[in-house]
């Protein structure tokens, strides 16, 4: 690996992390703005979540009396794992850092690590809400897992490898793949799973204040100050990353195939545009959807799983 190439790779990965971090918060603000507009409200400015995070960082750190080292560790690990996942995924360029080991399976399990530790932290406070949130999050995670892995199988079956850059490169190579039924089914299943993983409606309502209806919010009820800021940052990055993954699988154009500066800029621009469009669409649908009852979720997840399975089977048959 020549020095220039190494510098290019490190540069690209740094850009990707920052893009995901800042982009995530902005995306959050943008989606709130779209919802507000559709509901006839002016809504908070797009950069409001950035300001919230800066405000929270300056506040005092508060820790529940029975909490252990897991309570402060969870937000840090959440951000770290999403950052590593962001570094690995081919958002801007098809040669991200560690591209040799960048495997869809690894990305999924990195996100799983972050959410598992968050679930543990939820119970660390020793209150009822933390336990309730963790219990429900773990149940949804358990149901989303089969759909997620079978989707990865559907995506990697047509390209004989689960290496993420390889899939993106193959899709760039022959765009016919996108329209293939296997890819369509897989993408539909992936969308449902992304909604479940990132805790958006109809699975979980991020902006609810009713303790008994929260899932994700209940776990982070006890966080305040910098810890809450890290958690919000982590959540935003996770949402941006998931949407980025989805977008690059559906419309891979614009992803730089070389590590030239121009290529990176074009890649960044394309990424931001695509995520903005998808985020807006997601917000648009959220306005019209109500939160599903907790025990109707298994049907949703089963639907995602069957679609993924159809994706795999059609991938094998059509080939």
């Amino acid at each position: 690996m020549s020095a220039a190439h190494a510098a290019g790779v490190v540069g690209a990965s740094a850009v990707q992390v920052i893009a995901v971090a800042a982009g995530g918060l902005v995306l959050l603000g943008f989606m709130r703005k779209v919802r507000a507009r559709l509901e006839g409200r002016v809504g908070a400015p797009i950069l409001q979540s950035l300001r919230d995070v800066r405000k929270l960082f300056r506040k005092e750190r508060i820790r529940p009396d029975v909490a252990t080292w897991i309570f402060p560790a969870a937000p840090v690990v959440l951000v770290a794992t999403v950052a590593v996942a962001a570094v690995m995924t081919p958002l801007i360029t098809t040669q991200p850092a560690m591209s040799g080991g960048s495997d869809l399976f690894v990305v999924v399990y990195l996100l799983l690590a972050g959410s598992t530790l968050l679930a543990l932290a939820g119970m660390d406070a020793g209150t009822a809400f933390g336990g309730m949130g963790s219990s429900r999050a773990v149940m949804i995670g358990a149901l989303a897992e089969p759909a997620l892995l079978v989707t990865i199988l559907a995506l990697s079956v047509t390209t004989h490898s689960s290496n993420f850059p390889a899939i993106v490169r193959a899709t760039l190579a022959n765009p016919g793949l996108i329209a293939s039924p296997a890819r369509l089914f897989a993408v539909a299943a992936l969308l449902i799973v992304i909604v479940a993983e990132s805790g958006r409606l109809p699975v979980d309502n991020p902006s609810t204040h009713l303790e008994l209806t929260m899932i994700h919010e209940a776990m982070i009820l006890e966080y305040a100050g910098p810890d809450l800021a890290m958690v919000t940052l982590g959540e935003a990055m996770r949402l941006a990353l998931l949407l980025g993954i989805f977008v690059n699988l559906v419309l891979p154009w614009g992803v730089a195939t070389s590590t030239t500066a121009l290529g990176l800029v074009v890649g960044l621009g394309a990424l931001v545009a695509k995520i903005a469009v998808l985020g807006g669409a997601l917000a648009f649908f959220e306005v019209f959807m109500a939160k599903l009852r907790l025990f109707r979720l298994p049907e949703l997840m089963a639907g995602a799983f069957v679609m993924a399975l159809l994706g795999v089977v059609s991938g094998l048959v059509v080939k």
Binding site: R58, T68, W69, L120, G126, A166
Partner: protein, 673 residues
């Protein structure tokens, strides 16, 4: 000093440890036995490493022992791998046992049975003839039964667990013996090399019978679903170092048996054999993880998760057999590597989990999750070790569980498009089973870690828990450390497994399957960089901590009451318990689990409408035990009652038996003439 004599000296040391355990005074009994066990493990492990390195088998035969057949031991690379596995679990478990002996395993019989158990398990993979294998197998069953019954005078559950364990193990051993004897009948000798030579010439349906019998026998030892019923009972009642050894090493020997008969002796077989193994694996994985997610007793939870992990191993084994059968030896070898890597990793983290559970039981006096809580503050090291081991069983990235799951996923992925209809249907189902199992395992172990170690203590025992002695922490620590090493630098594990697999499936070509620092699959597009991944994660965590410290002005953190909807008093009873934590998962799988809910309300004497107290109990029973085993037991008991009429006590009835026998014989002889 030939390698063979090393094995013999190792065995002698083990036996010496057994005698030391019985003879020495109570205080120094565990330590003396431990030293000898370590020496035995060291010797056996060096022989195993030598076999794996050179690839040459080590053979040993003596006619003087064991009448009629003599003992013959041959350590093949496959056997060497399992000897290493047993040694890797035995050394830390014995270290743990030294501290543990002061609380639970202090009786003379337990102290002498434990070393013999370890020694026999070290020798089972080296057995090379039907007689030697069966002697070691039955000895392992007998000694482990003695260890399960250590607490028989204290708990009735230990006694019933002992009976279940003994009877099911005996039935398994009978199945294995029948399989071996059918093979031996068709070959001149009874050594495995003779059996292997003549097994190919046998009729296909006889080979199928032998394979199915071996699958039943070894599957029951491994804890595969229909035969797993003894596992939660025996592990919950056995002392913790013994449960660690049983769940880590003894269960692995069950899988060794399936590989030995399936791949080595019978040399693979038609595809439907391995589809049966695959289906058995998927069923075990789902059933085990489901029950682990819904169980409140920590040790029974771990036992069910052993069934779950063994299900994954059988899944990989089945896939390997299917690929070999449809002519893809390289892929078959890869899935066998995946199976053995999962098995090795499972031995490590399950051993650590059982040892830490033992520490919890010693410190808090109970292992029921609904009575634990807040142990991470009171037992920091044990708590941390449990959490890391739980993370590795949930296959979270930097740890060893992840490597195994990745290898299995890769082998299933690359097997998906081979154009074989049965394979194409089986593979997605297998991936779905693998994924749901992973999800439910996360649910089970977040419950175990969260309810058990975090939050407020739910009983006075948990309240008063203090850290356990150093040797117990060191034992569990050793296993957790090896988990981390096997996760971060998996090449150590995967390469030795690769060598063993190349010895079992010769036609996969000389090149190693997995090459380089990161796991580059040779001949297939798939790579994993665990070391770089671990490095990246540490860097990211450090960066995140730095970010938080730099961005926040005031480093000090204040302690305050958690949010209780405005009320001051937040007690332990307000927390979720293990039952309530598992309630959503249990409700989703309600029709599979069919839990027993009983709610009894006691009313105030005066009026029916005033409720004095209401108790609600929800128990999730083992459906397999209820539907398969209890009817059989009832039928056998009815048969016993009915048979009593055979011996009614009247001498006339007995003489009439004799007369009818005489008449029947005379008629038969007359007809024959």
């Amino acid at each position: 000093m030939t390698a063979g004599s090393l094995v013999v000296i190792g065995a002698a040391l083990g036996a010496g440890a057994g005698i030391a355990g019985a003879a020495m005074p109570k205080r120094s009994r565990a330590a003396a036995a431990a030293v000898l066990i370590w020496a035995a493990c060291a010797l056996e492990a060096t022989t195993a490493v030598r076999v794996l390195a050179t690839g040459h088998d080590v053979a040993l035969h003596t006619g003087k022992l064991l009448p009629f057949t003599g003992i013959n031991l041959v350590l093949t690379p496959l056997g060497a791998l399992f000897v290493l596995l047993v040694a890797l679990v035995a050394v830390p478990a014995t270290l743990f046992g030294i501290g543990y002996a002061r609380h639970a395993m202090d009786s003379r019989s337990a102290a002498s049975a434990y070393p013999v158990f370890v020694t026999v398990m070290l020798l089972v993979p080296a057995a090379a003839s039907v007689a030697t294998f069966m002697v070691l197998w039955e000895l392992m069953a007998l000694v482990s039964l003695a260890l399960v019954l250590v607490d028989h005078s204290r708990r009735a559950a230990a006694r019933s667990a002992g009976t279940w364990y003994a009877v099911l193990t005996h039935v398994g051993a009978a199945a294995i013996l029948t399989a071996f004897l059918i093979l031996a009948a068709h070959s001149h000798g009874q050594t495995f090399s003779d059996l292997e030579l003549h097994a190919r010439a046998m009729a296909p349906d006889l080979r199928a019978l032998v394979f199915l019998l071996a699958l039943v026998g070894f599957g029951s030892k491994a804890g595969a679903v229909p035969f797993h019923v003894w596992l939660p009972k025996a592990h919950a009642e056995a002392p913790s170092p013994v449960s660690a050894l049983m769940s880590g090493a003894m269960v692995a020997l069950g899988i060794y048996g399936v590989v030995l008969v399936g791949d080595v002796l019978l040399g693979g077989g038609p595809m439907w054999w391995w589809l049966v193994v695959l289906v058995l694996g998927a069923a075990s994985a789902l059933y085990g993880s489901l029950h682990a997610a819904n169980n409140q007793d920590l040790k029974r939870l771990l036992a069910y998760s052993t069934t779950d992990n063994i299900g994954l191993v059988l899944l990989a084994l089945g896939a390997s057999g299917v690929f070999n059968a449809i002519g893809h030896p390289r892929l078959g070898a890869l899935s066998l590597v995946a199976a053995l890597v999962i098995l090795l990793n499972h031995a490590l983290f399950k051993g650590a989990l059982f040892l830490t559970t033992g520490s919890v039981q010693v410190a808090a006096g109970t292992r029921d999750l609904d009575d634990l809580g807040g142990l991470l503050r009171r037992m920091p090291q044990t708590g941390a070790l449990f959490l890391v081991a739980a993370a590795s069983i949930c296959a979270l990235p930097p740890l060893n569980g992840f490597v195994g799951e990745w290898l299995l996923f890769q082998s299933l992925l690359h097997g998906a498009h081979l154009g074989n209809t049965a394979g194409d249907i089986a593979i997605p189902i297998a991936v779905a089973a693998l994924a749901l199992t992973a999800g439910l395992t996360v649910a089970a172990f977040v419950k175990a870690a969260g309810i058990g170690f975090l939050g407020r203590p739910r009983s006075t025992g948990a309240e008063a828990a203090t850290e356990v002695p150093a040797t117990m922490r060191a034992g569990a620590g050793l296993l957790v450390a090896s988990c981390v090493v096997a996760g971060v630098v998996p090449m150590v594990v995967v390469s030795s497994v690769g060598r063993a697999v190349r010895a079992v499936l010769p036609h996969t070509g000389a090149r190693s399957l997995v090459r380089g620092v990161n796991l580059q699959l040779v001949g297939m597009k798939g790579a994993l960089a665990p070391t770089i991944l671990a490095l990246a994660m540490t860097v990211a965590v450090v960066a995140a901590v730095a970010l938080r410290r730099v961005a926040s002005r005031r480093p000090a953190s204040r302690v305050s009451e958690a949010w209780g909807c405005g009320r001051e008093l937040v007690t332990a009873r307000m927390q979720y318990t293990a039952t309530s934590f598992a309630e959503p998962v249990q409700r989703v799988f309600d029709d599979v689990l069919r839990p027993v809910r009983d709610l009894d309300v006691s009313h105030v004497a005066e009026s029916r409408y005033m409720v004095e107290s209401a108790t609600y109990r929800l128990t999730v029973e083992d459906r397999v035990e209820l539907t398969l085993y209890l009817p059989v037991i009832r039928a056998v008991r009815r048969w016993g009652q009915a048979a009593r009429r055979l011996q009614p006590g009247s001498v006339h009835r007995y003489l009439i038996y004799g007369l009818t026998a005489l008449v029947v014989t005379l008629v038969a002889v007359a007809v024959l003439a």
